[in-house]
Structure formats: structure tokens, C-alpha cells
Symmetry: C2
Subunit: 332 residues, 2 copies
Amino acid sequence: MKMKKFINAPETITDEELIGLGLAYPDILDVDGHLVISKDLADADRVTIVTYGGSGHEPAQAGFVGKGMLDVQAVGDIFAAPNAKLVFEAMKRADKGHGVLLLTLNYAGDQLAGKQAIKLAQKAGLNFRQVVTGEEVQYDPNGEDNKRGLAGAVALYHIAAAAAREGKSLDEVAEIAQRYADSMASITVKSTDATHPQNGMSFGDLGETDLMEIGAGQHGEGGGVRVPMMSSKDTVAAVAEVLSKKLGLAAGDKAFVMINGCGATTMMEMLVLFKDTVEFLKARGVEVVASMVGEILTVQEAGGFQMNIAKWDEEFIRLWNTPCHTPAYSKE
Amino acid sequence: MKMKKFINAPETITDEELIGLGLAYPDILDVDGHLVISKDLADADRVTIVTYGGSGHEPAQAGFVGKGMLDVQAVGDIFAAPNAKLVFEAMKRADKGHGVLLLTLNYAGDQLAGKQAIKLAQKAGLNFRQVVTGEEVQYDPNGEDNKRGLAGAVALYHIAAAAAREGKSLDEVAEIAQRYADSMASITVKSTDATHPQNGMSFGDLGETDLMEIGAGQHGEGGGVRVPMMSSKDTVAAVAEVLSKKLGLAAGDKAFVMINGCGATTMMEMLVLFKDTVEFLKARGVEVVASMVGEILTVQEAGGFQMNIAKWDEEFIRLWNTPCHTPAYSKE
């Protein structure tokens, strides 16, 4: 069977989808080549928030550009970091005289592009701070601890932007962002493979098995444990147990829970998984005070989900409960 | 290969996902069994908007309960209309003394439940009006004209709710809703089959072919034309041509475009399809003044999309450009 995706040419997918994004959300953002820029930036008199990353993970990250989340995203090609010049250009565009917070997901390509962009920024005398997220928790006790940056970063966009909108300094915003990055943990569960939209190849090798992989990584890079498909409750118990332990969650704690659908997993399943996670934590005396449930950072039409849990204090709760408005997430 | 879905028991999927919905959006809605009720209803002093339908199409319809869209939805089991008593209960709960607009999608089961609920409402002396949407356009000139209700109804939720919030009477709101229902047209393009979450069976019979089906219907019931997969541009040209003709779109007209992902089709593809639709219409002098692009009414993890185009006048534009806030769609 040939790849069944609605595209025109493999080499222009990202260009074309970004044009589509700009046409669909003219009230929220502008698209200039591979830069996606919040309309809200025009009048910004505060610290601004920049990130960058490959396409193919929609709605992440460009779908979170807008009021109260990202100011600028530099977009790479499918699953590939943009070049350092574009990341630097995003930082320059974003700077409103109060400095720029650069958020990086921990992957080799993103780290490299970030390092080079930072050199350009330093040379230009730009005021910036970088925070790297790599909240993946090793599920297999004998496996490799990859500390990959998963979907939890998306909640951080809003936390950091809210801090900036309170008028905090760059150092203060960076400190809150770093504290948030250190307060969260994620695991990916993959159930079916996806198709690369440029070469039509299936990636991942779960194939036609009855297995799922816990700890599979964002692109299904692997490194996890393969087990037969389990019920929602059993899957949640396995994953939430490890995350809770990592975060040291105890009775009386408050938590944020994200269930991120990888692509083909339905909202129906995500809501069942979320319910089971809330109940799992409640049984341990942990209160879920906020959440995101839906397709946040996908890997094409992969089946599976990421669970992200963050331990929240009153500052995170206050910052979260402020408005934001982007194509993929809004709060009143 | 067994079904690979994260559920607990087939018979409780809908109950469980609704509990999850209530836990995820406590600021927007309340869940009472199979009724999903907008928090905004408590202080409503206006006409209210009610719909009903089977689960399995998430985020539709419960994901559109909230401010400026649905006041109450009665939820059935997977792909099945709720019973008439529950639809009547939804209407009673919604009524704030100004009457209730009941929106029905044209399917046999939904029409039957609606007819029975209306009898109960009449007996109880409830003030209501019903509008049925069935905007599907026959793609195959020799095929059966099913006039099924597709995703276009979701845009109507906001148009009708906005009219109600302007203080219009029930007759006025119903008149606008009927006019909207008559101003739109949709076609479904299906590329891959989905799995029934209760019995694990694949439904639809595209199977491992290179074909897509234009005019497939919401559940992939069929009745369309099967052709080899085409590019986004060619697919858009085929579908938008038929929709434009049906609506009599001509140079100078203004249009709304919805690209609704059926489940496995990525946001990336939807944005490319949307761009191509805007360009197709622009070449004919038709301006796209508003849009919805994303997963709106899905069929589990089916591949494909629905294109909905509506011919808009100044009243529709004014009503659309008012705020709404629901789990799956928000406007400032």
C-alpha cells in the first residue's frame, strides 16, 4: 500500500502547511517563511518566549504561538531542527528590550542548533537565557536514560509566558522555567507505527504485533519495554507509578496531568486515560489541579500517548490560571 | 492483530470518557451521566442550544459544549443516538424561559430519537424549534443522494448560539440556523478504515488498497466514488468544485471553509488541504473570511477529511466574530 497522505510534494510540505496555518489564524499569528510570529508580539513590553523544532509534530510547536504562550517559533523541516541562523533570527525578532527566553527540547539536532544560535546571539549582544527540557523518565530500569524532551514543554510555554506577562525580569522568568522543567516527568507509550510523510516509509517496528512499547520516545526511537496491549487502567498504573516516584508525589501534593495523543489515538481513549490517571493519583492523596488532554505533540499518525505529570506549587497554579489564546490551546 | 485502543471495557467507554471530560474541563462544563451541560447555562437569560448524538466522534459533539456554542448535549453510545427521554431531558434542562433550539444531524437513528423527544416536549408544553442539518452533497452524479448531516453543524452551533446571545427570539434564532443549514455543503473523503472500539472490527472496506473514497459519509458508510489517492491540490479541486457549484459560489462571494480531520489524517495535511482550498476559491474570486481546521468530528482513527464550505453574508460574519470558549474550540 502506498502512503495515503494528502500532500502535494514531499519537499514543500512544511512550507505549504505554514502558509495554511497563517491563512487559518490571521487573527493570532503571522507566518514569515519558517518563522511563526504571534500578533501579540507587536505591543509586547516584556520578556518574550522563543522556541524552535522540526515540523511533523503538529499542532506542536507552531500551534502554540499566540497570546500567553510562544512569541516566535522557528520551524525546521519534518523532524529536523531549523538551522541556527533561523533560530537566531527568531530570537532577534522576539526581543523587545527585556530579553528572550529560548526554550530547547533535548535532542541532539536541537541542542546543536541551539548552541550555534547562542553563539550568534552572544556575538550580537542579545540578552537571552536558555532553558532545556528533557523530562523523559527511564521506564526500563536497565534501559538507557535518554532524558529526551517530550510534550511537557508545551505546558511550560504558558507558565513562562504568564511569568513574563506579570512583568518579571528575564532572570526571574528563566528561573521559573527551569524550576518547571525540573518539576515534571513524562513517558511515551506507543501502540502503532507512523508513516514518514516525505519518503512514505513506516518508522518504528511495532508492525502488526499485539505489543505496545512503554518508554518509546517521541519519534518512536525506541529504548522502551515491549509488552502486550493492556487496559487503560493497567497502562496508567504502570506509567503513573514511575512518574509519581520520580517526582516524589505524596499525599497532599498538587499535580498537573497532560495526556498527549500521538496521532491516531482517539480523544475518547485520551479522556479514559486521563480519568484513570486522576483516579490513580487521587487514591494516593494527590489532587489534579489542572490538565491538558488532546493532540499536543504528535508523531504523524502514530498510535499511543505521552503522559506528563508535573508537581505544582501555588506559583505554578497562579501562572497557569491566566488567559492564553493560540490555535491549539486557549484559556479564559 | 488485536484492537490496539486504550480502554477498559467496551460497555463503559462512553461513561468513562464523559467522566474524563468533566474532570478535564471543570471550568467549562458539567457532566451528569450522559448529559453534558455548559457552566454558562446557569446564568443564561436567552434562547438555548441543544443537540444530541452518538459518541465515538470526539471531540464532537460534547467538546463543543460551553460559552457561545452548545448549552447541553445528550450523548448516546458509540455511533448511536441517545434515547428520546434523554434528548427531552436535555431540552428541559436547557430551557431558560426563552425556548430551546434543537439541532439534529440527518441520520435515521437521530431523526427517530428527535421525533420521539419532540412528542415528549410537545406534551410537556416546552417551547422549542428543531433544525435538521443534512448538508452532504452527492459527489457521484449517479449515486444516492443521502443528505447526511456532516461536520458543518459544528460551525452552526456557534452561529446559532451567537444569535441567541444577541437576545434574538427563538423564531429568529431558528430562522438564522435554518438559513445557515441551507447555506452550506460538505463532502467526506476517506482514505483508511477505522476500528470499532467496542467490537474491535475494522469498519469500511478500503483495506490495504491505494484507493480513497470521495463521498464516503461520516461513518464511512460508503456511497461514494473510489479513485486512487490524489495530491492535496487535485483532491481539493475535485471536492471544492462540486461544493462551489452546489452553493452557486461566484466572484465577489465570501465563504467559510472547514477542513475536518477524520482521525488519523494529520494537522499537517489538513493545513495543506486548507491552503489549497483557499487558493482554489481565490482563483474564482471567492474570499475565505473564516475557517475551522482540525479534528472536529472524527470517526475513530479513520484516515481522511471532510470539506465543508458555507456561503456567508454579513450576518453570518458578524455572528461568527463573537467569543466562544469550549474544550475543542475557542474564539476571542
